[in-house]
């Protein structure tokens, strides 16, 4: 082996040169990435994480659309019978567990919950001024997300301690909705205790927002006394705007009637269709409601989903200012604007299930978007309005047999504003009053995404919604993917 010496040298070279095996270790900071192990070390990290917890509440546009499409208020619409098939099926009450829209709602609400839980997990890492308020917001948001899930799906997996990780996949089962409601109440009570009555920044949850949501949660469980007590704490804090329709305009955002409002802006000028609704700060629900290929003043083109039925339009009494504020009657609008564009007039293309009516509360309006127009509508979603609080308080007082006087009072505040006089006040009591309150809810809140859940909650769904199957359609199916992956039980009938 005369090359022995060389071989030794070579082997030495081979193993000395790359001997540093940490050469293949990876540190995220090499790519300027922030990692979990360096996070939650300053107040600003907590503040940012709370903002991150608000973020998914902007992704609730489908929740709102379905709240009316599933009910007798509106039809699916769209381009054709196969456009957003998930919504088409929900309109026909033929939804199956394979419904992309329902899957999105499930995932997005759970993302919100996980973000809230991530803050819970890191709660003890640092103390700072204002921490209680921040966590009050977190609990409010978690309750909001869980409430959406319970409304849509009934029993759902419940977890609150920390963000789930990959190893938690498939380990959870559905918790009875009573348990979920208990957690929601607990979170909201926490929020009530820690949130201030007003926040410097519009859009943040306040104590009253938490009370209003808590009252709603009680009402959904028919806990009328708790509901009445809770909601009445909000009464008098807000006021009804004089002109009903104004609050749905841009100028009416975050107005005196707004208890909690999901905030949107056109300022992000988002262009990427591939990352919607997460990427944009605009309201992706708005474009769905607009008339197709629209040419005319005030409004802008949209996709003609969620079109109000003629029955809904005609259900309003004469003199009810909410009729045309809630629903755009396109024929009438065209008549009124016949001179538009040098006499060309107003035109639009009829979509699938066209009724000639459009959702005038949440509709693309000219000049209210930027960037890719479809993705950036600035319209806030008025999640809880004072009128809703009044009607809920009325219902709680009436159905809880607490005070029909109070109930009438609250109800009539809403009606007086709507008709601009006191001539339309209701004087009924008992179950007649109950029905009047329920009907009033839809005159007041139609096309705001609450009607289907009201119908279900009050047992009216089967009588009002075609093809509604009692014992099945009160809740939507658990996404098939979740059943397959996590072994969750399916809701009955699906």
């Amino acid at each position: 082996m005369k090359y022995f010496k060389h071989i030794i040298v070579l082997i030495a070279l081979l193993f000395i040169a790359p001997a540093c095996t940490n050469y293949v270790d990876y540190k995220a900071v090499e790519n300027y990435e922030i990692t979990a192990d360096v996070y939650f070390q300053s107040k600003s990290d907590y503040e940012a994480a709370v903002v991150g917890t608000y973020d998914p509440i902007q992704w609730t546009y489908l929740n709102v659309l379905i709240g009316d499409i599933a009910s007798d208020n509106s039809l699916s619409g769209g381009e054709s019978a196969t456009d957003v098939i998930g919504l088409q099926q929900i309109d026909n009450m033929t939804q199956t567990p394979n419904n992309d829209n329902l899957t999105s709602i499930w995932k997005w609400m759970y993302e919100g919950i996980n973000r809230a839980n991530y803050l819970e997990e890191n709660k003890s890492k640092l103390d700072f001024d204002g921490k209680e308020i921040l966590y009050g917001e977190v609990y409010f948001l978690r309750a909001y997300y869980y409430f959406e899930l319970v409304k849509f799906f009934g029993d759902v997996p419940l977890f609150t301690e920390s963000r789930l990780t990959a190893t938690d996949s498939g380990t959870l089962q559905r918790a009875p909705k009573e348990e979920v409601y208990t957690q929601i109440e607990k979170d909201l009570q926490n929020a009530v205790a820690n949130l201030p009555t007003s926040q410097a920044q519009k859009g943040r949850a306040t104590k009253y927002a938490a009370l209003a949501l808590l009252g709603k949660v009680y009402l959904y469980q028919d806990k009328f006394t708790d509901a009445a007590n809770t909601l009445e704490q909000v009464i008098g804090v807000y006021s009804l705007v004089p002109n009903y329709g104004d609050q749905f305009l841009k100028t009416g955002e975050n107005g005196p009637e707004s208890v909690f409002e999901i905030q949107y802006t056109k300022a992000s000028k988002w262009y990427d269709w591939g990352f919607v609704p997460q990427g944009t700060e605009g309201n992706f629900g708005i474009i769905h409601n607009g008339p197709r290929a629209f040419s005319g003043p005030t409004y802008a083109s949209g996709w003609s989903f969620n079109v109000p039925t003629e029955d809904l339009y005609n259900s309003f009494s004469d003199g009810d200012t909410r009729k045309d504020a809630s629903i755009l009657n396109m024929a009438k609008f065209a008549e009124d604007n016949a001179g538009y564009n040098n006499g060309e007039g107003v035109s639009y293309a009829e979509g699938y299930k066209n009724t000639g009516y459009f959702n005038n509360k949440y509709i693309p309006r000219a000049g209210e978007t930027d960037g890719q127009p479809e993705l950036n509508y600035l319209t806030n979603y008025r999640a809880i309005r004072y009128a809703d609080v009044l009607l809920m308080a009325a219902e709680a007082n009436n159905r809880g047999s607490i005070s029909d006087d109070k109930a009438q009072n609250y109800l009539n505040q809403v009606r007086d504003r709507a008709f601009g006089d006191t001539a339309h006040e209701i004087t009924a009591t008992g179950s007649t009053l109950t029905q009047a309150i329920w009907d009033e809810r839809n005159f007041e809140l139609s096309m705001e995404g609450v009607h289907f859940f009201d119908l279900v909650r009050t047992g009216q769904a089967a009588s009002k919604i075609n093809s509604f199957v009692t014992g099945k359609n009160e809740v939507f199916p658990i996404p098939q993917q979740e059943v397959d992956i996590s072994g969750l039980t399916q809701n009955p009938g699906y």
Partner: protein, 1021 residues
């Protein structure tokens, strides 16, 4: 001084003593009489000798009568001549066919084919020169058995290359090694195919395991050309000019047919006639004719190669310009300029220095392709009653189609993008010979790429209310005013980006070859490698380009406000470290044995699994060398078998990432937030692929016929992918995990026949066969499948990667004809919304309801097998080559129908159902499709089998007498037709549809491969 005097003295004595010696002159030529330069001429058993000059001449002095002169030259049979007198010797050397095929480049060394016990496919420069591909992969299609190449018609686009099936989910691109330097398949876009000496595809684990974790998808080893020592400079010039054209068009409705069908659909759904008078419509506009153009392709290459005593060189310059056949040449082109220089120098007897440098400049521009927004999709779906231009010379618009689909000419006009790539790659290599059989190599290989891209989205108009319109008809911005009187406006937009990629590999290894007792030969390699890849990008966007014009389209010229100027960046890095070894052993060249092993460490792996070990072993037995083997028919028979492990680390490094992307709006202002975006899997490791190979090499009838066949089986366990986890985990990116298993098996074989019937007539034909069957054995992932690609608006998912099925198969409903009447609907399983004339879907699970659960496998986009057949004939000065490629058994899913009420339809709709018994294949037309007849179903599946005559070439080499005095040594002219004929039943443009593995075979209006007629000339001087 003393020594000089002494030598002079000795020389003088020598002259005196050797009075009987004489000088001998002569020439050495090959079998065709072409002089051979650089042939070694040695007086046997002495050190006396010389080598032939550029014209094959030699002179040897001081020879004696009876001396033996030995003529040797690489690639030729060594010849020995006994000197009888001093007459000039004219020696002819025969090509050594045994040794020419011989040496193949494998990882970290070369090996004689006769001693290889692994599985390799080789494509040599002759095939590449005949085919003249734009990208090197094209030359592998049908020529390298075991490699399945699915070509892409778009200029310069990367094809799908699968070596032995689809083992992995995370990527199937093989490793590409160019002159020892590891690169990627993407890098082949910048390599000039005419610089390639050979391509060897390392198919089995025995050969690819030396590349360890990178070798899982096979390895393509490219060797570029180099010069030869002691040859004068040979210049070679190749030029060609071709015209490309599209052969097939798709039959769509003309204007009258379109109007009639719309009328019927409207009436069927309770509406009124849309066109009251069809008589004036005529045939209208065929939009395909408007967008498909004949386009040129130009190719020039010049090379210079040669060498001196110590140095060889190969210099090359190339230029290629290919315009697209869709749209126009200024909107769709691929333009490549290459320069490369390969130098090889003996610094000393022992010390060799090699420097290869290659520079490429690529300019390209493209139009949208293979999606619903592509030019072809628009041409197929747009309203045929609209004229290309209106009376004012503006682009024609449709008042009824108001979304996505638009005048394709306007789309072409409004598409502006440009890409520029500058790329430098090469290597610096030192080889040090410790001894004749012991060599140390130190190699630094690098790739440096700068990619610049620009994209301009102008203000554009497709009709009032069209969702792609962002301008008024005069192209002024649309200004809208909200209730407060605030205005907002549409804008044109510009985006520019710079991306830099840099990667290097440093390798240090030693090759030591030795024999024990002469009979036992060993070839060994031991080495280490360290490498790094980085990428950096920065992108800037802005609005409001002056004059809405491409001329001014640059971020620097944009006049938009500060809020409209946005930027972004990204970067990545990964590193590898590896140790490897190989021992090849043979006993008398009869019994072959090989072991390789590689240890790889990677930043991609989880903390707990930083290093992987990839061993392999192979055995070979040259049966024909055995004494007992006597056959006049079989000249050579070798049996081979191998077993080994390779890997795949195709994942990104993992960590708990806090993203600062989430935002919310307070007080109308956007506030940045944060969320946990990804969670690491500390245990993630490489995919572990175990591969078996068994094969044989056979030569028959004086080696005129040779057959090589291999059977392989691959099992990938620990398959890497991002699992679908419980949805209640939310939306973060969950880590890649090793949770699946696939299995592939198949056969690849090649058969060749070479013969000379006379000096004037030679034939060379080669036949290759490739097949593989792939199956996903296991996905340890909740629902046992992952969606792959889909199509259309609304998006319809179509392909799946699912346990128990082949990867990327088509998933949808099975159809069972058309419901002829209500009775049939009532008799069938419940199918919501069905009416007579609608499609009947099969109730696959038999539960009495047709719903999502009845979807099943409806097709497979990968072929059962592919065949390539190449024939070359030489007759006197003519040469003729035909290459045929066939792919059998692949399914295609037609997905180019936009399906709007007013979009154009395909001619098949003329045979629609219009009443009982009228059709059992095409459903009724309606504007209200309550049955969802357009759902993903086997109705859209077609057989994508095809036979393509890929290449026909006829060349003529001018007789030397023509250019004798001009200084040229070789002039050949040729004419070539690429994609000459396609035989297929597929109704679309082209049955070859290339994309990602889970996106293969979906025809969204795929870019057809054009037929190219070209003429060219090859000149040497």
């Amino acid at each position: 001084m003393k020594t000089i005097v002494l030598s002079i003295f000795i020389s003088l004595v020598g002259i005196v003593v050797s009075a009987q010696t004489f000088e001998i002159k002569g020439t050495v030529a090959d079998a065709n009489g072409m002089p051979l330069p650089g042939v070694s001429v040695i007086v046997k058993n002495t050190t006396k000798g010389t080598s032939t000059d550029f014209d094959g001449n030699f002179t040897v002095t001081n020879v004696n009568k009876g001396d033996l002169l030995e003529f040797s030259y690489l690639g030729y049979v060594t010849k020995t001549v006994t000197i009888s007198n001093n007459n000039a010797l004219n020696v002819q050397l025969k090509e050594d066919t045994e040794s020419l095929e011989e040496v193949v480049v494998i990882g970290y060394g070369t090996q004689k084919v006769s001693k290889i016990s692994g599985s390799v496919s080789t494509v040599n420069k002759k095939s590449i020169e005949e085919l003249k591909p734009v990208r090197a992969e094209e030359a592998l299609q049908g020529q390298a058995a075991g490699v399945n190449v699915i070509s892409n018609g778009s200029p310069g686009a990367k094809p799908t290359v699968l070596i032995r099936g689809i083992p992995s989910y995370t990527g199937t691109d093989p490793l590409v090694v160019i002159d020892g330097v590891s690169q990627t398949l993407d890098d082949l876009n910048s390599l000039n195919p005419s610089d390639i000496e050979s391509i060897n595809v390392l198919k089995d684990a025995a050969l690819s395991a030396i590349y360890g974790v990178k070798g899982g998808n096979g390895v393509i080893v490219v060797k570029t050309k180099s010069g030869k020592k002691n040859t004068k400079t040979v210049f070679s010039l190749n030029s060609s000019y071709g015209v490309q054209s599209v052969v097939n068009t798709i039959k769509v409705l003309n204007a009258s047919e379109y109007a009639a069908i719309l009328n019927e659909a409207s009436v069927n759904s309770g509406g009124n006639l849309i066109y009251n008078d069809l008589s004036g419509l005529g045939t209208g506009t065929n939009w395909q004719d408007q967008v498909i153009v004949d386009a040129p392709i130009i190719n020039h290459n010049i090379t210079a190669s040669g060498g001196s005593e110590n140095t060889t060189y190969y210099l090359s310059a190339g230029y290629l310009n290919q315009d697209g056949v869709i749209g126009s040449g200024d909107k769709s082109y691929f333009n490549r300029t290459n320069f490369s220089a390969n130098f090889n120098t003996d610094l000393t007897d022992k010390f060799k220095f090699i420097v290869n440098t290659s520079y490429a400049n690529i300019k390209n521009s493209s139009l949208s392709e293979n999606n619903i927004g592509s030019v072809l999709s628009n041409a197929l779906n747009f309203d045929p009653t609209v004229s290309p231009y209106d009376a004012n010379g503006n682009f024609g618009t449709s008042s009824t189609i108001t979304q996505e689909i638009k005048n394709p000419l306007a789309l072409i006009n409004n598409t502006y993008n440009a890409g520029k790539t500058n790329k430098l790659n090469g290597k610096l290599e030192f080889q040090y010979k410790l001894a004749d059989n012991f060599k140390v190599t130190s190699r630094f290989g690098y790739t440096y790429v700068d990619v610049y891209g620009k994209n301009f989205i102008p203000l554009q108009f497709y009709g009032v209310g069209h969702n792609s319109t962002n301008a008024n008809s005069d192209l002024s911005p649309i200004v809208t005013t909200d209730t407060d009187g605030n205005t907002s406006s549409t804008h044109n937009r510009i985006s520019e980006s710079y991306t830099n990629y840099f990667s290097y590999t440093y390798e240090l290894y030693a090759n030591y070859d030795f024999k024990i007792n002469e009979d036992h030969s060993f070839q060994t390699v031991l080495g280490a490698s360290i490498g790094k890849n980085t990428g950096n990008n920065i992108t800037a966007n802005a609005e409001d380009i002056p004059y809405n014009s491409w001329t001014y389209a640059d971020v620097s010229a944009a006049t938009g406000d500060a809020a409209s100027q946005t930027s972004g960046s990204w970067q990545y890095v990964n590193r590898n470290i590896s140790y490897f070894t190989r021992i090849n052993y043979d006993y008398l060249g009869k019994y072959l044995l090989s072991f390789t092993g590689r240890v790889d460490g990677s930043t991609s792996f989880g903390k707990n699994n930083k290093f992987g070990f990839f061993p392999s072993a192979s055995l070979g037995w040259v049966v024909s060398s055995e004494d007992f083997f006597k056959s006049n028919v079989i000249n050579y028979l070798k049996l081979r078998g191998s077993y080994g492990a390779v890997g795949n680390d195709n994942i990104s490094p993992q960590f708990s990432k806090i993203t600062t992307f989430p935002k919310y709006t307070f007080d109308g202002n956007i506030v940045s937030g944060s969320a946990l975006q990804s969670i690491p899997n500390d245990n993630v490791s490489w995919e572990n692929q175990i591969q078996y190979n068994a094969g044989f090499d056979l030569k028959l009838f004086d080696s005129k016929i040779s057959l090589t066949a291999d059977y392989f089986q691959k099992t990938v366990s620990d398959l890497l992918f991002n699992p679908t986890l419980s949805l209640y985990l939310g939306t973060p990116v969950y880590p890649a995990a090793n949770i699946g298993k696939t299995k592939s098996y198949g056969i690849d074989a090649s058969l060749s026949y070479n013969d000379s019937f006379s000096d004037n007539f030679k034939i060379n034909t080669n036949f290759s066969f490739t097949t593989s069957t792939n199956k996903v054995e296991d996905i340890n992932n909740g629902d046992k499948f992952i969606w792959g690609a889909g199509y259309g608006i609304p998006y319809t998912p179509l392909t799946r990667f699912e346990q128990g099925f082949s990867p990327g198969y088509f998933y949808g409903y099975k159809t069972d004809g058309i419901f002829q009447n209500q009775t049939e609907i009532d008799a069938h399983a419940t199918q919501n919304g069905a009416q007579p004339g609608d499609i009947k879907y099969t109730d696959v699970n038999g539960d009495g309801v047709v719903n999502d659960n009845d979807r099943t496998k409806i097709g497979d986009p990968f072929p059962d097998f592919t065949l390539g057949w190449n024939v070359s004939l030489n007759y006197k000065d003519f040469d003729f080559n035909v290459f045929t490629y066939a792919s059998v058994g692949a399914d295609i899913y037609r997905a180019y129908d936009r399906n709007l009420n007013y979009t154009n339809k395909f001619s098949s709709i003329l045979d629609r159902w219009t009443g009982e018994g009228t059709s059992n294949t095409e459903p009724r037309v309606t504007f209200i499709d309550t049955n969802n007849n357009r759902r993903a179903s086997d109705r859209y599946i077609e057989d994508g089998s095809f036979v393509k005559i890929k290449n026909i070439q006829l060349g003529y080499t001018l007789p030397e007498s023509v250019y004798k005095t001009t200084g040229f040594t070789h002039i050949r002219i040729y004419t070539q037709v690429k994609n000459a004929f396609v035989f297929t039943n597929y109704s679309g443009y082209d049955p070859e549809i290339s994309s990602g593995v889970l996106d293969t075979g979906i025809d969204r209006g795929t870019y057809p491969q054009p037929r190219i007629f070209s003429i060219g000339v090859n000149v040497k001087f």
